[in-house]
Amino acid sequence: MKKDIKSIKEKVSEILELPREVVLNAPRMVFIGNKDVTIENYKGIIEYNDTVVRINTNTHMLRITGQDLEIKNITSEEIILSGIIYTVEFIA
């Protein structure tokens, strides 16, 4: 049942061309190479140090690993991480 609702939402967003991250309530991430990542629509930071950053979002938990990770900017809407990013994992 839950699956059905999700797919309906997705279909609606496709038909109406609504921004999907809004409809699905999913994070929107913009990478600039492996140097910079902007994450919008997040909930909070779970873990932060210079090699691992874990960020909670509505759908997944993000686990970003890298080197010299720094939070350039943090507001309630978006978070900008910079450093050298190795991996991004989605943990359900």
Partner: protein, 403 residues
């Protein structure tokens, strides 16, 4: 993304408002960040130093609201450094003289730049700049005038009335500089009305080459020698049938005319060769007063060329201050005498004489012949003579005075 350009502006803004670098120590740093974010306390450039401490930047306003957050998350917050203009001002708050000085500087600067220090006149061809400046001065527009009380429109109008020859005048005030642009009126030649009776007389000496009369009575014929002021075509017509009749004489009289000029020139040319030695003297001119920046006024060379450079002290391009830095450069020269061959000297003299005569000729004159000659005055000087023969219009109209 625009971030690159945006960062500079954001950085500047942050410097203006001031910010702190803080270090946070504790076991719940993530929690601390999350709560700050939720409470609209803005943190940036967060860097983890080790497992339980981080460094971050925070605004002054944010720092004031951070205490409860630190208490709640059991973190210790320390100020590492303070940055930005508010802290700099704070540091100098007690130094009154310094602030008075800064204030005085700006007041003086504002005061000095609210005068006109330079007036530049351009666009004038026959009117002299001095004349325009003099008239401007009489209108109340001169160097040192206070800008705010100036009514440019009134001055422009008054100038138009004062100088009859102006077709247009535009005054543009740019900073402390005033640019006065003028356009001169071409004065129309005095034309005698078509119905006013007139004679035609000779403007120059010459020999009549051709005469075409449209109205009036010709008094000379081709080949006649004429003198300046001689009557050429009479407007007074006397006929047996009608009696004396006055007409407006119209005619084209072209005559052969001669122009002669001579000049004495020396065969010895003096050449000034720079030796490369230089001596510079600086002077500061302030409101017309000269302050010399040197001790002895003697010049160490026997022969020298003097060049004067003036540099106005200005703020930007437009705010010129009434301070001029004058530097006089004395360059030593060696004088060498050289004898020029006669032919070269003559041809040079002829060339310049030709130019001189050309200036005197009217526009319709055509040069038909030219002769040059020279004689020795003494061994070193010659007299060069140039004779130019032209054909030109010589008739000018002159009113008949009836009595």
């Amino acid at each position: 993304m625009l971030r690159g350009e945006r960062m500079l502006l954001v950085n500047l803004f942050q410097l203006m408002c001031g910010y702190l670098v803080i270090s946070v120590e504790g076991y719940f740093i993530e929690k601390f960040i999350n709560i700050c974010t939720r409470r609209q306390i803005y943190l940036w450039d967060i860097k983890k130093i080790n497992k339980c401490s981080m460094r971050s930047k925070i605004s002054i306003k944010g720092f004031k609201a951070i205490r409860p957050v630190a208490y709640k998350t059991k973190c210790r917050v320390r100020i590492v450094s303070k940055k930005g203009i508010p802290f700099i001002i704070n540091r100098y708050r007690r130094r009154k003289a310094f602030f008075i000085g800064v204030l005085l500087f700006f007041v003086l600067l504002g005061y000095m730049t609210s005068f006109i220090w330079i007036i530049e006149v351009y666009g004038n061809e026959e009117l002299s700049t001095e004349e325009i400046m003099l008239q401007l001065q009489r209108c109340g527009f001169k160097v040192g005038v206070f800008k705010p009380g100036l009514d440019i429109d009134r001055i422009e109008n008054e100038m138009m009335l004062r100088i009859n020859r102006l077709a247009w005048i535009g005054i543009q005030v740019k900073g402390t500089k005033a640019l006065v642009e003028v356009k001169e009126r071409k004065m129309p030649p005095e034309v005698i009305d078509k119905y006013t009776p007139c004679n035609i007389v000779a403007a120059k000496d010459g020999v009549v080459e051709s005469i075409v009369v449209k109205s009036g009575e010709p008094m000379v014929k081709k080949g006649d020698t004429i003198k300046k002021g001689q009557l050429l075509v009479s407007g007074v017509m006397d006929s047996k049938v009608q009696g004396i009749r006055y007409t407006h004489a119209v005619a084209s009289i072209r005559a052969r005319t001669w122009y002669e000029k001579s000049r004495e020139i020396s065969l010895i040319k003096i050449k000034r060769i720079k030796t490369g030695e230089k001596h510079v003297k600086h002077t500061i001119k302030f409101f017309g007063k000269r302050i010399n920046l040197y001790l002895s006024s003697s010049i160490p060379y026997e022969n020298y060329d003097k060049m004067t450079y003036n540099k106005e002290v200005s703020i930007g391009k437009e705010y010129v201050l009434p301070i001029v830095l004058e530097s006089n450069v004395f360059e030593e020269v060696r004088i060498e005498k050289e004898t020029v061959p006669v032919e070269v000297a003559v041809s040079e003299a002829v060339k310049s004489l030709h130019e001189d005569i050309k200036k005197e000729l009217s526009e319709d004159a055509e040069i038909i012949d030219q002769k040059s000659d020279y004689i020795f005055i003494d061994e070193k000087n010659i007299l060069v003579k140039l004779l130019i023969e032209t054909i030109e219009e010589v008739g000018i109209q002159e009113k008949i005075l009836k009595n």
